[in-house]
Structures are given as C-alpha cells and as structure tokens.
C-alpha cells in the first residue's frame, strides 16, 4: 500500500511539472531544445537518464544475478567509456555546429553539413529511420512500464501499459523538452539516491565480506561467474561488439542524446556536464552491479525469485530486506529510468515529423502555434503506436536493442561529417541506408545472438561512407570551411 502511494505521488509530480513548464513553451525551439538555455546539471541529468532505461535496474540487475562478472563488459562500455567518448568526441562539436547553423535536430544538422537543402533526401531518410526505430524502442519501454505498474499496483497488462504511456504522453504533450529535462532531474536524483543507499544495505544483507565467499561458491560450479574475457572466443567477440559498437559508437549516434548537447547554453556547460554525467553514471552502475551480486548470494537459485524471473532479483531484494517505503522508492527509480528515456525519444520522434518534414519541407509558412499543435497530436500518435508494439510478444524481447541499434546508424554521418571535411552527401545517404538495412537483416537472420547488431551495421556504414565519399565529387568549399570553423571553435 505504502509503495503504491509513493508511486502515485511520483506520477502526479511528473504531470504537475508538465503543467508548469507548458507555460514556458511558446515556440518549437522551446519544445524541441528547451530554448538552448540549460545549465550543466540539467544537461548531465538529461543525458544520463535518457541513456539509461529501466533495463539498468531490471535487465542489467538480472544479468549480474545470472552471470556476475561477465556483465562487466557492458558496465565498462555503456556505464563509462561510452559517456566519456560521447562528451569528448562529439559533445562540444555538436553544440557548436547546431548553434552556428541554427539546427534544432539531427536531420537539420545533416542537411546543412551535407548541402542537401535542395533535394531533402537526407532529411527524409533520417526522419524515417528515427521514426521507425523510436516507435520500436518506445514499444519496449512501454512494456517495461507495464511490468512496473503490474508488480506494484497489481493492475492488468493492458491497463498498466495504457497508464504508463498516458503519464509520459501527458507531460511531454504539455511541456515538451522543458518538461522532459526537468522531470529528468527529479528522475535522475531518485535513481542516484537508490543506487547510493541500496548497495551497502544489500552488502550487509548478504553477510558483509562473506558475500565474496558466496560468489566463489557459485563460481566453482558456474564458469560464467569468473572475470575472464578468455573464457571462450565468443565471449571476446561479443565483448568487443558490446563495448566498441553497441556501447561507445551507438551512444554517439543516438539523436536523443546528441540533442542534449544542443540544449546547453555554452561549450563550457557541456564540459562541466560531462564531469557530472560521468560521476553519476559510475554511481548508478556500480550500485546495481553490487546489488545483483548480493541477490545471487542470498538466493543462489532463481527458483526462490518471483516467477523464477531473474530480472525481478533486485526488486525482490528490496522488498524482502528493506520494507514497503524502500520498495516504493525503488520502483519509483525504475519507473523514472523508463519514463525519462521514453520522454526524450517521444520528443525526438515528434520533431522528426513536425520540424524536419512538416515545417522544413511541406509547409515552411506554418505558424509556431500550428506546429506546436501538430507536435502535440503526434505525441499522442507515437504513444499509441508504442502500445501496439508493446503487445507484440515476439518483438518485445529484442525491441530495445533493435530500436537502439537503428538509431545508432547516425554515428557514421555525424562523427565523420564533423571531423572529415571530405565526407559527401552521397556518402552520408548510402551509409545511413546500408547500416539500417544490414542491422535489420542481421536481426531477421537471428545472427544477433552471436555478434551484436551494431557491429555489422556500423562497420558496413563506415565502409560505405568512406568509399562513396571518395568516389563522388568533394563537398563545396563553404561546407569544408564550416567543418574547419566548427573544429577550431571560430565564431562561437
């Protein structure tokens, strides 16, 4: 009962933020990039909470429970190196480029960098990839939201999915990116509070230092429990595909994360945000990792977990040892992680149609009010499409990875476009299409079980980009100068 009250209070708070921030949303720029006036804390919390979905607490927690140290590959990749690489390699350049060119979204940026203002092919291709991938991704998030509501409030699957989706849609509908980033701060704080307080308690519950004796006992029977990248060749290959491609490069390609750099007030803000982001990320991942180990030592067999579901290991740990208030807060954090990812993705999907296609191509004379109304209608449509995906049992297991890898294809034209002035329009178009199709085929053929989708998808994308760029006419002088200017930080 107490946990349900805490959860409902949290939901009401999110909606109140949506109502308050809606008063400050006057233009599309306010709706999509929160007016480009955000400080380091908001940029950092927005980045982290968008990057981490409920998967951290349920999926990753369950993974540590099952395989302990093998999960470290993802923790190092996604939890640390990917965040640092995104900020250092792209953060400042993306902000500068979007500011100088007045771009609000990634398709905006690509169109300017690849001098495609006449044909808009790149804009159409980007918008289509963003829309398809995000709807798939949101479907998986809505299914995760439903699990949380079902577990705490005891509701049915349909009602849980609708309620979870409705909350996110309402506050995005009202406050756009402004509501999303402010709720991100609350959601991130809740996640950090849970990740700081929970591990010492879980450590104590598992018998203090005897926790490690317990892990050793399990490792004696289960070789996956030992920290060894050389356990088998497939582990090494999968580890590389996870760290380099699914984590580091995929982070750098996510439009919803790159968008967070655009809301920063200045380059210095991006630099400061990177420090906050990295510290927060380390706290969150180490916290969940420690709790996952403790849960396995306390319940060595999954038979003891609710429904034998290893993904419920952490919530069960909290419920058993810490009581209803902590359980409510824990589910609040899980919900926060899911909602903060879903809101940013929703705005990204909406902007890909409202800004990238409708305003820039179909109706340039449209008023701000008209586009805002369209954005709000689209927010509802994306939410409903997500619900439909959430009820596809075959897709749901892999939909988060599929959506994530679909969006990752943008790393090729963004990264290469900002660093290599020779990259051409044709190279960008062919690379986007190739990466996306290779990713889908890899998934359809079932090869993603051996090597992560992102690896073949991005490798083919990079190869096609370089090859086609060399075979086609080099970009106009002014574009090449623009790339140099952004790199050197001139006129910022």
């Amino acid at each position: 009962m107490i946990s349900a009250v805490i959860l409902v209070t949290y939901i009401v708070l999110c909606i109140v933020i949506g109502i308050i921030t809606s008063k400050y949303v006057k233009t599309l720029e306010d709706f999509i990039v929160a007016g480009r006036r955000m400080g380091p804390w908001i940029v950092a919390f927005g980045f982290n909470t968008t990057a981490l979905s409920g998967w951290l607490y349920l999926g990753f927690g369950g993974w540590v429970y099952r395989e302990a140290f093998q999960a470290a590959w993802t923790m190092w990749g996604s939890g640390l190196f990917a965040v640092i690489a995104s900020y250092v390699i792209l953060g400042i350049l993306v902000r500068r480029f979007s500011k100088i060119t007045g771009s609000l979204t990634i398709p905006d940026m690509l169109e300017v960098r690849y001098y495609d203002q006449r044909t808009h092919i790149l804009r159409y291709v980007s918008a289509a990839i963003i829309l398809i991938s995000i709807v798939i991704y949101i479907g998986s998030l809505e299914a995760q939201l439903a699990i949380a509501f079902r577990y705490v409030l005891g509701m049915g699957m349909l009602e849980s999915t609708i309620l979870g989706t409705a909350v996110v849609v309402i506050y995005c509908l009202l406050g756009g990116m402004l509501a999303a980033v402010w709720t991100d701060v609350i959601q991130g704080s809740l996640m950090a509070a849970v990740s700081i307080t929970l591990p010492p308690l879980a450590f104590y519950a598992a018998g203090g230092l005897r926790l490690f004796e317990g892990v050793d006992r399990i490792a004696a029977q289960d070789p996956r429990f030992v920290l060894s990248p050389w356990a088998s060749p497939s582990v090494v290959l999968y580890g590389i595909s996870l760290i380099l491609f699914a984590s580091i490069l995929s982070y750098m390609g996510q439009p919803a994360l790159l968008n967070k750099f655009m809301i920063a007030k200045s380059d210095l803000i991006v630099r400061k945000a990177s420090i906050i982001s990295t510290i927060l990320q380390v706290i969150l991942w180490i916290g969940v990792f420690t709790c996952g180990l403790a849960a396995r030592v306390i319940w060595p067999s999954p038979e003891a977990l609710p429904g034998k579901n290893t993904e419920l290991a952490l919530p069960f740990l909290v419920e058993t040892y810490l009581g209803p208030v902590a359980t409510g807060l824990y589910w609040g954090a899980v919900l926060a992680a899911m909602m903060s990812t879903a809101d940013s993705l929703m705005i990204m999907a909406v902007s890909s149609v409202a800004n990238d296609i409708y305003r820039k191509v179909l109706r340039p004379q449209a008023t701000e009010r008209e586009i805002l109304t369209l954005s709000r209608i689209l927010t509802i449509i994306v939410g409903v499409l997500g619900i439909i995906i959430a009820f596809q049992p075959l897709l749901i297991l892999w939909s988060a990875w599929l959506g994530w890898s679909g969006l990752a294809v943008f790393v090729v034209p963004i990264l290469m476009g900002l660093y290599w002035k020779r990259g051409t329009r044709e190279g960008a178009i062919y690379s986007l299409v190739t990466s996306f199709i290779v990713g889908l085929l890899w998934f359809a053929l079932g090869l993603h079980r051996y090597v992560h989708i992102a690896m073949p998808s991005l490798l083919s994308g990079f190869a096609v980009y370089v090859l086609v760029s060399y075979l086609t006419k080099e970009p106009p002088k002014e574009v090449q100068e623009l790339v140099e200017k952004v790199k050197k930080g001139i006129e910022v």
Binding site: W76, R271, I275, T278, F289
Partner: protein
C-alpha cells in the same frame, strides 16, 4: 646502529606477520578470487573516472582562462 637493526627486524617481522599472509590470501586463496575480480571491475571504473575528472578540470581551467583573455 642498534636502532637500524631493530627497525629492519621489525620490518621483516611485520612482513611475515601481516603482508605475506595477506598477499597469499589475495593471490592464492580461492575464497578471495571474487573479491579480487570485484576490485578489478570497480577499480577500472573508479580509476577511469578519476583520470577523466582530472583531465576535464584542467581543460575547463584552460578554456576559462582563454575565455577571459578573449
């Protein structure tokens, strides 16, 4: 001379009494394998974090000084 001899003897004694068994426990004992693994996993995270924060602070200072000059 005597005090030097004493301090050397104490060093040897404390090595045999505390450090050597500790090292044996960490490196040889199977019961501590997971503690070492945990220390490696978390240690990589924390070391990278410290190095990155130090690098960023230096860059921040440099950019702030550059900004003031401009």
């Amino acid at each position: 001379m005597k005090s030097v001899h004493n301090s050397r003897r104490m060093k040897v004694e404390s090595y045999e009494k505390y450090i050597n068994p500790g090292l044996k426990l960490l490196l040889v004992s199977e019961t501590m394998q997971s503690l070492v693994s945990y220390a490696i996993v978390v240690g990589i995270m924390l070391t990278t974090l410290i190095l990155y924060v130090a690098y960023s602070m230096r860059e921040l200072k440099r950019e702030e000084i550059k900004g003031v000059r401009e």
